[in-house]
Every structure is written in C-alpha cells, then in structure tokens.
C-alpha cells in the first residue's frame, strides 16, 4: 500500500529531470538567448504593437472588463488599444531584453474600478491558460477577500511552470499576489549601464531590484517618457526570465529564481 502521490517515486516510475547547474553564470544563463519560443503575457492596460520599441512577435491577447448588468467578468479575445500607455511601456522593456519573445497583451485596466479584483484575477487566469511561460504583473490588490483567489491562481501558475513576475506595491500592508512566496517580486533600483542590472534583495518580501527609476519607456502614440515605478522594474525581470527560459526551457519557477539570484550584480 502506498499513500497518495507516492506512485511517482516507485523505483521504475521515477523520471529523469534536468539537473541544476550548481553555479549558473551570466554566460550560462543568457549567452545567445533572445527569448525565442517564450511567450510573455503583459497583464496591464493593453499594448501598442506598432510602437517602434515593441514591434516584433505577438500572440493573441484578450481584454477583460466587468459587466455591471451581468455582475461578471466578460472576456473579449483579440486586439485592443493601450488605454494608458503603461502596458506598452512594460512590453517595450521586455522586448529590449528578449527581442524574439512572443508578447501577448491581457488588458485588465479599463474605465472603471467596479469588479477590478475579479477582472484582474480572471486576466491572470486567462494569461495562465493561454500558454504564457512568463506573466508580467504590475498590479496587485490589498483587499483581503482576494487573498485566497490570487493564491490559488499563483499556486496553479507555479505548478504549471509559469513564472509570475510582480511589481511590489508601495503600501505598508500586504498586497496580493506580489508578496506570495511563489512569485518573483520586484522593486525599482537605480539606472545601470549593466544590461542585466539585477540586484538580489537580502530580505523578503521583495526578491529583486531592477531599473525602475527615471527610465526611458515606450508610451502612447509612438512616444517615449521618462518614468519611475516598480512596474518598470518588474518588466525588466520579465525580460530576463524570458531570455533564461528560451535557453533553459526546463527550469521550474523556483529554479529561475535561483538563477536570477546567482547572476545578480550583488551576488557573491
């Protein structure tokens, strides 16, 4: 008799898995990698695919809104404009670091706040089901009633091998999903000439620091803006993760985190 889940560890059932490089270097992690074959979902305000900093390979996206009459989330597959410019900014940062990745836009920011938590969670799930390997989230909620829902989706992503990269929020209380252990939480650091420009935090809940202060980002109408925010730092890490996964597709999210730590500028 064997307890549940133990069958996978029967001598003739144990599968070979890729080993972990004990000390991954930047060369090992990134050299020759362009993000090709990796889909990055930008869960945000939409993405302007025609922006010079964003053009390239795209996968189908979706726009999610809250229907007040139905009191439910409605999902419209396909193209949609960027309402604010923020999603385009994040996409531009990802594209710069992983030029050949496939970007998909999941728009969850719309014209109203009603049902925002549900829309956000549904967008996250849509991204997860769409085949994305990396999901960039510059949004989070502090509402305790969404703790369980987001936790469920974040765990699902983790088990499916999908890396969630979240911008840390700026409020003193916990926010979800940016502070779950299963996601990669990022805050802004100073600009750097180093392309990888990654700092590893000594203490959680933030995992990493990446450029997000006064960074030049793509914006609406083909323009660029100089902006500050943790969201831009998160997009930087999403780009790095896409690069790593294009070269090492077998890595699980916790391994990706370890690789990022190993290649951080401040790693000893």
């Amino acid at each position: 008799m064997r307890p549940a889940w133990s069958d996978a560890f029967l001598p003739d059932a144990v599968e070979l898995v890729a080993g972990i490089n004990a000390a991954p270097t930047r060369e090992w992690a990134f050299a020759g990698a362009s993000g090709r074959g990796v889909r990055v979902a930008i869960v945000d305000s939409g993405v302007d695919k025609t922006h010079p900093a964003v053009v390239g390979s795209f996968a189908a996206g979706a726009s999610l809104t809250w229907d007040r009459d139905l009191e439910a989330v409605t999902t419209e597959d396909g193209d949609h404009p960027d309402l604010f410019g923020h999603g385009t900014a994040c996409a531009g940062i990802v594209r710069a670091l992983a030029p050949d990745c496939e970007i998909s836009s999941v728009r969850v920011l719309g014209s109203n706040l009603t049902g925002k938590g549900q829309v956000f969670a549904a967008g996250l799930r849509w991204a997860l089901d769409s085949g994305a390997r990396v999901i960039n989230l510059s949004l989070s909620t502090g509402r305790p009633d969404f703790f369980g829902l987001f936790h469920e989706v974040a765990d699902e992503a983790h088990h499916a091998g999908v890396v969630l990269v979240c911008a840390m929020n700026n409020v003193p209380s916990p926010t979800y999903p940016s502070q779950y252990a299963s996601v990669i939480s990022v805050a802004a650091s100073d600009p750097s000439d180093d392309e990888i420009a990654l700092l590893c935090a000594a203490r959680p809940p933030a995992d990493f620091g990446a450029p997000g202060l006064d960074v030049e980002v793509a914006w609406l109408g083909g323009t660029t803006m100089k902006m500050t925010g943790n969201s831009f730092a998160a997009a930087h890490v999403s780009g790095l993760v896409a690069r790593i996964l294009s070269k090492h597709p077998h890595l699980r999210p916790y391994e990706v985190k370890s690789v990022l730590r190993a290649v951080a500028t401040n790693a000893r």
Binding site: L109, S111, L113, L139, S140, R143, N169, N170, T228, G229
Partner: protein
C-alpha cells in the same frame, strides 16, 4: 400614515440627518486642505491635489488642491480611463513622470483647464485597506532638495493620512443611513413606515463618493433586523457566527506584513 408615525418619521429623519455631522470628525476638509499645502511646500512642488473616485460615474473628482491652478482644478471631473491619475487609481501603483509634455494626451486636459502645464508629476494612490479612494498628485516637485529620492514613499505617507481623513468623514456621513436602514427592517415588514424608512435609507446611501462598503453595512444591519424577528435564539446564533467571522478576519489581518 397615522400622524403619530408621521411625526416619528420626521424626528427620525432629523436625527439621521444630524448624526453624520454630529459624529463627523471636525474640519476634515480643512485637514485635507492643510495636508495638500503642507505636501506642496515640503516637496517644493508647484501644486498638490487630491482627487477622489466617484464610482457612480467612473470619474475622478478633484476635491482639494493647493498651489498653481488650485482654484480651477477643484471640482474638476476626469474619466478614470485617462491620464496619470486614472492609471494610478486603476493599478494602485504610484507613478512618477519626469517629462510629462512628451505625451500630448497625458494630463493635457488638466493643464488646459488650470493654465499650468506641468513638466513632472508624482501620483500616489490614496488607499484604504479595502479599496483605492483616490489619488494624490504633486506637480513639478523640486528634485534637487535633500531626501527627494524617497519622494514616492513620503508622498504615500501623506496619501495614507488623507485616506484616514476621507474614510472618517465618509463613515460619519453614512451613520444616518445605517440608523434608518436598521429601523426600517426592525419595523413590521410591509408597513408604510418600513417602506418610507427604507426609501429614506436608500436616498442617504445614494449620496456621492465611496459608498460601497457602507451600503454593505446597511445590508448587514437589515439582515440583523430580519433575524431579530425570527427570535432571540436565531439572533444569538447570528451573533456567534459574526464573532467567528471577526476572529477569523482579525487573525488574517494580523498576518505579519513587510
């Protein structure tokens, strides 16, 4: 309706109307005004404003402002789907832009209305534990002064203070509605008085801005009224469940933060 009920209703309505102002923290508007002016001076900014979400119209309403264009911007309404302030409210993320004029759409509406075209903006969400109430914006702050590198954090502290003042005032505003809602449900179902009180409670909750949690409170009061009619045992059971919920919620909110 009997005249005694009429007179009772008159007294109750007067009481309900008086409850809000009676319990309202004094000078919350003045506090917000002082807060924006203090922030403006501390950050060396040209202007500071607070805009609150009006969920009924999906707009941001500029309620308080200090500095350049303050008189013109106060009372202005902008859609939640545009501009820096709209994004900050939608995402709950603070954002700073240091060359605003590069995007012709960004904040142009504000700039045109106020006659002041800002170069830089720092906007942080004004948040309660439950929701985003609005946004605090600083225009053209002085980036060279000592401590400027912590501006997002400092501005967020101002926003937290603003949130406390706004929540306190909103809670007081709905005291009357809660009272009327409770009374309406406690009255015999179907009586004229119950209907009238229910209508009065609905009218009270329909007053603008940040009403959703308070409408829930009215609903809770109404449910307790219903239970009371079932009998003391049922009411005691409901109280036990509420205590359990509260214990659970307290436990969860005491989860260690960052």
């Amino acid at each position: 309706m009997p005249s005694s009920a009429d007179s009772l209703l008159g007294e109750l309505s007067a009481l309900a109307a008086a409850l809000g102002p009676a319990f309202a923290p004094t000078g919350s508007e003045e506090l917000l005004g002082a807060l924006t002016e203090t922030a403006r001076q501390l950050f060396g900014a040209a202007a500071c404003s607070i805009a609150l979400v009006d969920e009924a119209t999906d707009e941001l309403v500029y309620t308080t402002a200090a500095g350049a264009g303050a008189a013109d911007i106060t009372g202005m309404r902008l859609p939640l789907s545009a501009g820096v302030a709209g994004f900050v409210v939608q995402s709950g993320q603070p954002v700073a832009v240091s060359d605003l004029q590069r995007d012709p759409r960004f904040a142009r509406d504000v700039a045109e209305a106020t006659g002041y075209l800002p170069t830089a903006i720092l906007a942080v969400p004004v948040m309660s534990p439950r929701s985003v109430l609005g946004v605090l914006s600083l225009l053209d702050r002085d980036p060279t002064r000592p401590g400027a590198e912590r501006d997002i954090e400092t501005a967020s502290l101002f926003a937290s203070q603003a949130a406390l003042a706004i929540e306190g005032a909103a809670a007081a505003r709905y005291l009357g509605a809660v009272l009327l809602g409770q009374l309406s449900e406690a009255a015999t179902a179907g009586s004229d008085l119950a209907d009238v009180l229910r209508t009065a409670a609905a009218a009270e909750t329909a007053t603008p801005a940040a009403g959703a949690p308070n409408r829930d409170l009215v609903a809770v009061a109404a449910l307790l009224g219903d239970l009371n009619r079932h009998g003391p045992r049922e009411l005691r059971l409901a109280l036990l469940i509420l205590h359990e919920v509260l214990t659970y919620v307290d436990g969860r909110s005491s989860r260690p933060g960052p």
